[in-house]
């Protein structure tokens, strides 16, 4: 009886220590949330990228419904992972639109190189005083470059070929 009580106490202590998350575990938890995010890196969640947003969710600073590109699928997935109720999307962050890629109107591009700095995935090719272009296979459709263009020559166009070819066939 006493032996068992001691053992129980020891195990309880061990479990309690384990429950206090080690820093490594926290990183892993952030990674798991990050895996569920669409990696558009648009920053519409008010965080500078998907991983920072994942960290904020884990820290309880952000809600799980602030990712417009992920939409309800992402909300459900995160809710499942964290065992929380699924929320309806926070529309103040933006609407869930079908994915599109940015296209630069090369006739009007003045080569200011401002959009190059905005692109979170280095999908814009160009240099100062040279026309820029978007590598459409790499573009995530975050729309961050649009606001940076002083001559408004960047627009979004619906995704057609490439990685999402199957979507067109459904």
């Amino acid at each position: 009886m006493i032996v068992m009580a001691v053992m129980a106490a020891a195990i309880a202590l061990l479990l309690g220590m384990a429950a206090r998350r080690l820093p490594g575990n926290e990183q892993a938890a952030v990674d798991r949330i990050n895996d569920l995010l669409p990696q558009i890196q648009c920053g519409r969640c008010d965080y500078p990228g998907c991983r920072p947003y994942a960290a904020a969710i884990l820290a309880g600073q952000a809600d799980i419904n602030q990712c417009p590109p992920g939409g309800e699928t992402t909300i459900r997935a995160i809710a499942d992972l964290l065992d929380r109720p699924a929320l309806s999307p926070d529309l103040s962050c933006g609407h869930h639109d079908p994915l599109a890629t940015a296209v630069i109107d090369e006739e009007h591009c003045i080569g200011c190189a401002r959009c190059l700095q905005e692109c979170p995935v280095d999908a814009i090719l160009g240099a100062q005083f040279f026309t820029h272009t978007v590598i459409s296979d790499e573009c995530t459709g975050c729309e961050l470059c649009i606001a940076s263009c002083p001559v408004d020559c960047i627009a979004m166009s619906a995704v057609s070929a490439g990685t999402r070819a199957i979507v067109a066939h459904v």
């Binding site: 669409p38 998907c50 280095d122 790499e138 995530t140 979507v167 067109a168 066939h169 459904v170």
Partner: protein, 512 residues
């Protein structure tokens, strides 16, 4: 390891028995269609990305001239199937699994059917190296004519050690008889192709698989084999039971070994090719004509004279129907492919592709109506009929539950990607559940989710690489600033320099 092959039929436990209905179209020799007046050749005639056109409207082309080039692995070259004028390169409704509009090259024939002259006349393939043969085959735009349209040259250069080449002449799906008539009337060509393919794949063994219900074809192959006198080639009989002609199924029946889930026949040392593909290879080496035609079965009670036609790629289906004596009455359905896996066509103006093995014009009531069309869907009673019928060894009833729950993990562990969409489960289901349709939809969703995951991973890597670069730049800038601030010259340094300057001056004045 010794490899043995079942040359006598083995009865598979899976599959279904359906009425063959092939006799209607196998009665006549293959009709060779004259070059049509106009062809529309789809650029999407391979398992990979569409080919890129290399001709422009207004250009004159000859028969067999390359008109589009392969772009990536899985993609194949495309050749003009008639001589004439390219009148358009435009979006057309062509034969494809998705009824999608695809870019097609439209050629209006000049009636001469003049061959593309600078085409290399192939020399004796038996004196060529395997790599040269593969290259030649790739240049002929030859793809798997069984329906998957995977480039033959690419399949041949898999790199794995091949124990045997399996030539698949098992045409298990009802109605379709293009492979059967090919074996009946052109067995020598098929075997010639087999020899070339064996050399290209580096193997010394070939099994030609035929069905038990095509005795004439079997006899023809045996006769051709006697003339050829090649003891590396054997004929194996496979039980006529649908879908024993599937690549994995025929392999299992002949070798007794299964292709692992998600794997390819190459993984267990076998290479499977359709008999039509072998004939196309032999034809190319004999005549120099690339893959510009194929045999199509035109059958069904909705046509007057069911027949097998060797037609140019891009010929409108309506012309083939006309060659089969035209419609008899008003057909209820026009199907490309067989009654089990084929797809209904919206109209007969669609041009045929390299994958088109059969056109069925079905009279009203000819085909068993699909369950969903007639009988309402009832709940699953767990009778496990589907389980016994499934040739891939899956559990359709469990898959159905996972489909309803949209449980991706369960779908994957239950082996959804291995579903070949043969329709056997639909056929046997007493509750008339459209299982195959559910599975094909789920498979599309599955692939899409996989692609999405891959895209997200790629974007994340690029984002992280950029973050790392920006951080490194920041660190470097900091470092440079520090260096600059460290470079502020101290008083002692100034003194040292001044002392040196003074010394140099003294030296100068002392010199002369």
């Amino acid at each position: 390891m010794l490899h043995t092959y079942n040359l006598q039929p083995r009865r598979p436990s899976w599959g279904i028995r359906a009425e063959a209905r092939k006799a209607e179209s196998t009665g006549h020799a293959i009709v060779i269609a004259p070059p049509p007046r106009e062809v529309a050749i789809s650029l999407n005639q391979s398992a990979g990305r569409p080919a890129v056109p290399i001709v422009e409207p207004g250009e004159k082309v000859s028969t067999g001239q390359p008109v589009a080039r392969a772009t990536a692995p899985g993609s194949a070259d495309i050749h003009a199937s008639i001589s004439g004028l390219v009148v358009a390169v435009e979006e057309r409704l062509v034969f494809s699994a998705h009824h999608s509009m695809e870019t097609a090259i439209v050629i209006r024939g000049d009636g001469t059917d003049e061959d593309f002259t600078p085409h290399p006349v192939a020399n004796d393939p038996m004196s060529m190296t395997p790599a040269e043969i593969r290259q030649t085959i790739a240049g002929a735009g030859i793809v798997g004519l069984g329906g998957a349209m995977f480039p033959t040259a690419e399949k041949l250069s898999c790199g794995a050690r091949i124990h045997a080449l399996i030539l698949n002449g098992v045409e298990c799906e009802p109605y379709i008889s293009c492979d059967e008539v090919l074996l009946r009337y052109r067995a020598a060509r098929v075997l010639r192709g087999a020899q070339i393919l064996m050399r290209a794949a580096g193997t010394q063994r070939c099994i030609v698989a035929v069905e038990t219900d095509m005795p004439e074809a079997r006899v023809a192959v045996h006769e051709a084999l006697e003339t050829l006198n090649d003891d590396r080639i054997d004929v194996s009989q496979v039980t006529a039971k649908y879908p024993s002609g599937g690549e994995r199924q025929v392999l299992e029946l002949i070798t007794g070994r299964q292709v692992p889930s998600g794997g390819l026949p190459q993984d267990i040392g076998y290479l499977c090719q359709n008999v039509g593909t072998a004939a196309a290879v032999a034809d190319f080496f004999a005549t120099g004509r690339p893959l510009i035609s194929r045999i199509v079965t035109v059958t069904g009670q909705g046509v007057s004279r069911p027949v097998n036609i060797e037609a140019r790629i891009g010929t409108p289906i309506a012309e083939l129907i006309a060659m089969a004596g035209g419609y008899r009455g008003t057909p209820a359905k026009l199907i490309a492919g067989g009654p089990m896996m084929g797809i209904a066509l919206p109209d007969d103006g669609i041009p045929i592709s390299k994958a088109n093995n059969c056109i069925i014009a079905a009279a009203p009531g000819e085909l068993m109506e699909t369950a969903a069309e007639h009988q309402p869907e009832l709940p699953c009673i767990r009778c496990s009929e589907c389980l016994q019928a499934c040739p891939a060894g899956l559990q359709p009833q469990e898959l159905l539950v996972a489909c309803r729950q949209q449980d991706r993990q369960a779908l994957e562990s239950l082996g959804l990607p291995d579903c070949l969409e043969c329709g056997c489960c639909d056929y046997v289901c007493p509750s008339a559940i459209p299982l195959t349709a559910r599975f094909s939809l789920a498979k599309i969703g599955f692939r899409q989710a996989q692609l999405e995951e891959r895209r997200a991973l790629h974007a994340r890597q690029r984002f992280e690489a950029r973050e790392a670069r920006l951080q490194q730049q920041a660190v470097q800038r900091e470092h440079e600033l520090q260096e600059q601030s460290a470079g502020v010259v101290s008083d002692s340094q100034i003194d040292a320099v001044m002392a040196r300057v003074a010394r140099d001056k003294n030296a100068d004045t002392e010199k002369p």
